[in-house]
Symmetry: C2
Subunit: 456 residues, 2 copies
Amino acid sequence: MGSLVEELVGAIGSGRVSTEEELLARYAVDQAPIMDFQLPEAVVFAGSVKDVQAVVRLCAALNVAVVARGAGTGVSGGAHASRNCVVLSLERMNRILELNPDDETAVVEPGVINADLNEAAAAHGLMYAPDPASFRSSTIGGNVATNAGGLRCAKYGVTRDSVLALDVVLADGSLIHTGHQTFKGVAGYDLTGLFVGSEGTLGIVVGATVRLKYLPRDVHTIAAFYPDFRQAAAGVLAVGRARVQPAIMELLDGGTLAQLDDLHGSDLSSRGRSLLLIQTDGFGAAAEADVVRSVLAAGGATVSTESTAEAEQLVELRRNSRGVEVDDEYRVGEDVAVPRSRLVDYVAALEDLAATHGVSLKVVAHAGDGNLHPTFWIDRQGSAVDADAMARLNLALDASIEAALEMGGTITGEHGIGQYKLRWLGLEQPEPVRELQRRIKELFDPAGILNPGKAI
Amino acid sequence: MGSLVEELVGAIGSGRVSTEEELLARYAVDQAPIMDFQLPEAVVFAGSVKDVQAVVRLCAALNVAVVARGAGTGVSGGAHASRNCVVLSLERMNRILELNPDDETAVVEPGVINADLNEAAAAHGLMYAPDPASFRSSTIGGNVATNAGGLRCAKYGVTRDSVLALDVVLADGSLIHTGHQTFKGVAGYDLTGLFVGSEGTLGIVVGATVRLKYLPRDVHTIAAFYPDFRQAAAGVLAVGRARVQPAIMELLDGGTLAQLDDLHGSDLSSRGRSLLLIQTDGFGAAAEADVVRSVLAAGGATVSTESTAEAEQLVELRRNSRGVEVDDEYRVGEDVAVPRSRLVDYVAALEDLAATHGVSLKVVAHAGDGNLHPTFWIDRQGSAVDADAMARLNLALDASIEAALEMGGTITGEHGIGQYKLRWLGLEQPEPVRELQRRIKELFDPAGILNPGKAI
């Protein structure tokens, strides 16, 4: 046998294999903090299922790790390269193979961009519901690998709820099809669900049949400003008690408002210390919006009667609040979820521990799901590393995770464990549960070549 | 060691173990056709998680099969006793342990009746969405074991979509907790999803945290009568094209209407040869109902403007159409699902093959999901078995399954494989997919004591 790279070129052609230094470095990481930088041996750009099978077979034969990757927008390091690995990009497999308006399904290759699928579906009055903040750049394959969430999950579900069937290349290079093309189907064990969220550690998703939902014909957006964050969090429960299910219910704290003002020249901060941003949709959107406005006003909010255009712009600002700054050792974004009734308590706990540890904090939350994204950061003091500040940042971070778990929460609502959150997984899941998962991994990938060191 | 029964009594007390002949016979089967009747060695009625653990540990030590059972309302034989087994009833573990209105969750023991959970939730304006036709008698544990569907799945999802976390006793008697108490959570592999629908073959569910949804504040019911069944099936697609998501969309054929008339003295048959029964719900229910009425009328339906009371009574009749007759060798109910666009074709195929094979047919369908329940039957000729008629019945049944698969469907939309549908599973799932499932089974239950011969 020749070198790994020669073998790869022989298997799928030179146009699909790169060892270009700058490209290797770019494909070595996703958008998560980097714990253990590793340059891949090569990046391959699969153009077909057969390409994926050929690469996996070759890597299996050579005992080389394969790190599958969509757009690399993950924030937990699920696509970080591991030692001596091949990074397998699925970006070029980006065709929508079928869009069936009457079936309300689509069959896509893994590299299809979330927004592109939505655009194609919209032509038929349909939508693909899961909408992570990265929807303009992230791929369906990546969304499946992380069981991605987004803004409209509380009403429309997470990625798992929209995936009906998968084509998966296993660790030996064989191809299987799981699930069903129908909305319902209960034949055998739920292998589809097992692959969703498994971060490319059990197999590589090379195709997906997804369910589409109806584009709402009416959308109402409500902006409710509060004097403080805790009151805004209480507003979330008030909407729940009114038994209204919004499509979107986003909670932004003062720090987030100030940042949006800085970036976009808005004046949100002058209107309150916290913003609850709610969209109702569907045939009942107007009636639901009326109920929402009234319960929020009763809870101390200043509720907009502003034009839809402005309110919708606020949602766009929120949708795009991701990606403005990338996490690094001075700034870490979290992704905990807590039971909804604990939102108020958790927000209070976050504020307390930021004060205790002397770190800055801002919080946005998909509040309908109890899914919070606190960001802790410390200001850089020139180029020198401030060891004390770093220690305080990590203490705050660890304490925020522990507080979420104490309240019955989880360490990751939608971003996944990846590489970055492995250190906390043992706090959430006891050893017997982790051992079961290790044994499932071993069953699917006995040599451990699929994205080693991630997810479990 | 003493006998199995003595050991069981020693482990959990005599009040929890029965060997009474009539009871053994009753607990030997669920409501599916019986292929291989086996009387269990004993029936045990667990009162606690510890009881379940003790029974499983004992059975593991003695290498005795354990068939877990809820209310025994399954129709695929998932709870049929296997040779020399212990039937483990979870009926007595029927407490709702928590109902958290602000979290919109409940924590229940497995023996809680679906309708009882709904009644408790309704007091808070909430509901547990999955509503199998057996909801008045079936248990949450049984619903979880089969990933039960029901009438309102198209809008509200199946059991899997409402289960957040599970407590499971494994084959060695150990207890694990899977999932999360929050709506979202992506830590590790989806073990919860793996247990849901696994029919007690991977572990025994002894507790569940479920998500509740909002009781709709408004419900509109529409009855649309059609001159034939195929036109009614086309009406389902017309509602989809209008992008209205009904809560319930039930399709009943002429045979079903005639039966309902016989049983309830109604005059449905005189009003059409097929009935499409639709409920819209939520804040937009009235507006949605208007759209539905108009598209159905345009498609040739006679659409009711009748009082809500009568239309709702029709839904009740449909809800209760289960259980009037139990399947036996002369009457077999099916549970296929097809992509929605094939509903019309599939109904045509069913009618053709019933005529070809000279068997009677009636069909009801959860049409929003493409999930059909055809029933084929032959009239009994006295007490003698009519071998020719039986052969025709089986030919029709097999042909109906094959037709569904050819159209991209599944052999079971919501009832599960159990024991009865194992014979068709190989038509749907190729050997490598089945082999993966066998290996998962082996991983969880190496001795094969948990509900052997079911599900996969």
